[in-house]
């Protein structure tokens, strides 16, 4: 239990430290937002507002792309919702591990439930370390502030980096997510789930197109886990 100021700071710092390697993966988002905002005629203020209020990089890229294409507003909102629908699953999975926070802190904390936030919280819980509100905020607020600042910098300096590919920045995101996928390899049914999600997401990406590969691929993996024969499916949480 965390009960004094010094311990709280240590928890907060531990959370911030968890955010450090993730920050490198946010960098490409800042640069991509800049490029997309400029080519789609979205202003600096609007792009920063997207990051500050939505705080979900992939959906913001879809939004930025659609803003420039004369698409009906409700369709843009629906697309953002579709890309972010996976958070429902994150919320269900992590929610029951943090009910000890109480409703107000949960309502605040869940706003910051991003892919890395969820993955790191799950990892922490699986390792038997309590997911405290202070640790969670240490990671979440570090990511949030960095993300919003990088978005602003990305649009303002967007034109300065002419070729993000030459820095390998475009591919940091898949490498980061692969490392996270690997972190869950000891879970039961890991391989069939990853195989099903891979096949379904590639098929969806090549046929229907982005962003549907995220939702459809995830559903395929989860369905495999649900219908798989149950030997010791729930005794291993790590």
């Amino acid at each position: 239990m965390v009960d004094n100021v010094e311990n709280r700071w240590r928890e907060f710092a531990a959370g911030a430290k968890t955010a450090l390697p993730v920050v490198t993966t946010i960098l490409p988002f800042g640069i991509l937002f800049g490029a997309l905002a400029i080519s789609n005629g979205v202003s600096v203020g609007e792009t920063v507002l997207l990051s500050a209020l939505i705080f979900a990089g992939a959906s913001q890229m879809v939004g930025l792309e659609l803003f420039g294409q004369n698409v009906a507003p409700w369709l843009i909102v629906l697309s953002i919702f579709a890309v972010n629908f996976r958070h429902v699953l994150y919320s269900a999975a992590i929610g029951r591990k943090i009910t000890h926070w109480g409703p107000a802190k949960m309502a605040f904390g869940l706003f910051f439930l991003t892919d890395p936030q969820f993955a790191e919280a799950e990892k922490r819980h699986a390792a038997g370390i309590p997911v405290t509100f202070v640790w969670y905020c240490g990671m979440a607020l570090s990511l949030y502030v960095t993300f919003v600042l990088l978005t602003w910098a990305g649009v303002v300096f967007g034109l300065l980096i002419s070729n993000p590919q030459s820095l390998g920045l475009d591919f940091l995101v898949p490498i980061y997510f692969l490392a996270l996928v690997m972190a869950f390899r000891t879970r039961s049914l890991w391989f069939p789930v990853v195989a099903a999600s891979s096949i379904a997401s590639i098929l969806a990406y090549e046929t229907i197109g982005s962003p549907w590969h995220v939702s459809l691929g995830a559903i395929a993996g989860v369905v495999v886990a649900v219908i798989a024969p149950q030997k010791q499916a729930s005794n291993d949480h790590g």
Binding site: L50, P73, N84, G217, A218, G221
Partner: protein, 103 residues
């Protein structure tokens, strides 16, 4: 900073719906006292299932440099290397192949 009204409302609506996805899963699930083992198995599969969908299409459409980078990063992660190590290994392979081999 110029802002367009329709754009602002679109962003606000997107933000509200995104927040609902982040609290909704818990609000719906917390209504049930016991969770069926199959639902539990499904929830357990969520992180790997979702994160895979971001990697697989990128790997499928990647060239030799991208595939090699993912392979090296995957092996590094499999062997329990920390996040920085995985990044460094994958990033180094990617840059080396793109710059000096040009694939």
């Amino acid at each position: 900073m110029t802002m367009d009204n329709a754009t602002i409302w679109t962003i606000l609506a997107g933000a509200v719906l995104t927040y609902l996805t982040r609290v909704g899963g818990h609000l719906v699930l917390s209504r049930f006292e016991r969770i069926h083992p199959r639902i539990e198995a499904g929830l357990d599969a969520v992180p790997a299932a979702v994160l895979t969908t971001i990697v697989a299409p990128a790997a499928f459409n990647g060239g030799i440099a991208e595939l090699s980078a993912l392979a090296v990063a995957g092996i590094a992660a499999w062997r329990g290397m920390g996040m920085f190590g995985v990044f460094f290994a994958g990033g180094a392979v990617l840059l080396a192949l793109r710059h000096w081999v040009g694939v």
